[in-house]
Subunit: 120 residues, 6 copies
């Protein structure tokens, strides 16, 4: 299952490089704004990443959820805190969130047995 | 504009009472779980309400946004913190969030000139 | 509040006529398929309208919800059955459905004091 | 293809157990409400499961669709009835539902050659 | 009905000014990228605005639809072309798009009797 | 990677045949309207397919995106034009579109080394 973490990270990096190799100003700037979003401001990065995780989960984007889980974990979010985030997403987004919750928890469990890679 | 806050609060309370007056176990329990969600756990209520606000905004639910803004404001979320939450929702959810951001900021400005009512 | 039912019905009829007055084959055929959808087949019209209501509610389309409530009511759906439909939509779709549930119940209550108009 | 049914069922059971092993009251109660939703009330379980299936399909949640297909099939929903449910979901949700419809029909065909497992 | 166009334009301008008066870098840059998106590139502005209109309609954002209709109209999109755009959005997004289509056509008809204002 | 294009095309064709083999009038007519949508009208097929692609991307339907990419490519859409379409979808739909953008670009790159199959 370490493979899922590795595959996700490699495909993500490879395709981001490919996308940014094409000279499209809007796409490039959007990626820049996306990175800027999670830098510390009035709220710290940990809180912002938690907001990104909850938002990704209610929008049911598995890859976004995986990414924010990796970031949150590096920033020290505990299992109990993860489940509080999941609980908000579950109640706000309803039972259609459950399959994404299953994959999120499976991904989180995989990370425990794996060196985490970052770089969005 | 104090009217918008008042109208929202009154309609919300009136209809919640009406809904709970009908004897449907699932609906009643769901409302109970919804209330429980924001009670302090591994994360405090303020953080949970911020998660609820970001989630509501990316899902583009104006009434949910208004409600969580009221809760966050009572819990001391500052204007700068609100805009950090909005910025995450905007980047995650895209430009279709902008009309909801406009109404959210208008609602927030109205609250300043108004005694806030709670009770979801 | 009879006004809300009347306004909804009149605007709906007026704009449907306007839309169909423009000679666009795809739009016209889509409207035809939409009407055909709720005619009795393996499932009767009442069941199909209930499916349409639940689907509209989880997709959070107030006008669609209002329309299917009117159809369901004419077909004899009771208050208890409406709340069972609402409960499925609420649990599947989550707390963001609640504001739409409030408006749905308000609309349903208005219909009791009003002659119902049909024609989608 | 019996594998897809089996894999889905096993992963679902394994992860539900894992999720409920974590002591989060909100998540646990939500799972309880979710189960309660499909118990007979004013509407019978079969009708409720059909509502759950249509709702899952317009929200485009493949795992939710698979689950409700399994439940509906055990409750005697026929191929013609399934296609009536699919037709409502297709017209309400549009052509983006088509890929999910393809997978739903493929899953349904697989179930015919397979002993069905339940337990959400 | 000229009022609806005017109200929309004024509220939009007022709140954009208010939002940009708060010093949040992410929000400001996002607004900048949003503006940049519709500038001519490999595709001309008219085509990009049509893409924005179809995207807004399937995402069911009335204000976004109104805005892109105003832009498209200034760029010479004809009634027949508008209906081709609407037809794609309707078929892709399904019958839940219909209420938004009604409001879009009503808005378009209002614009005919009104001087159009721009500035997003 | 040619396999992904081939697998997608074969599964799509096989399941469309299976779906249309069941005698459901609504589903059949919907498929007919879907085909009709992209025939030339006031807008040509290329523009309509680009609208379909942008709409599919903001709704985050990978299979729909793959299909419209194949159609657009046959109609002569260039890499620079594809990225303009992607840029609109990205800004309108937000960062949750990024994982779908990655898969879209990967699919597009695969098509270059592959004879393209059509038939929706």
């Amino acid at each position: 299952m370490a493979n899922r973490v590795q595959e996700f990270t490699e495909f993500r990096k490879k395709m981001n490089d490919r996308i940014l190799s094409v000279d499209n100003r809007v796409v490039k700037r959007f990626f820049g704004v996306d990175t800027l979003t999670y830098e510390p401001g009035a709220l710290d990065t940990k809180t912002k990443e938690m907001l990104g995780l909850a938002s990704s989960m209610v929008l049911r984007c598995d890859d976004c959820v995986s990414y924010h889980i990796m970031q949150c974990r590096e920033l020290g979010v505990t299992l109990e805190e993860f489940f509080d985030i999941f609980s908000v997403a579950l109640v706000v987004g309803g039972s259609i969130v459950i399959p994404h919750l299953r994959r999120a928890v499976a991904f989180l469990d995989e990370l425990k047995n794996d060196p985490v890679q970052d770089s969005r």
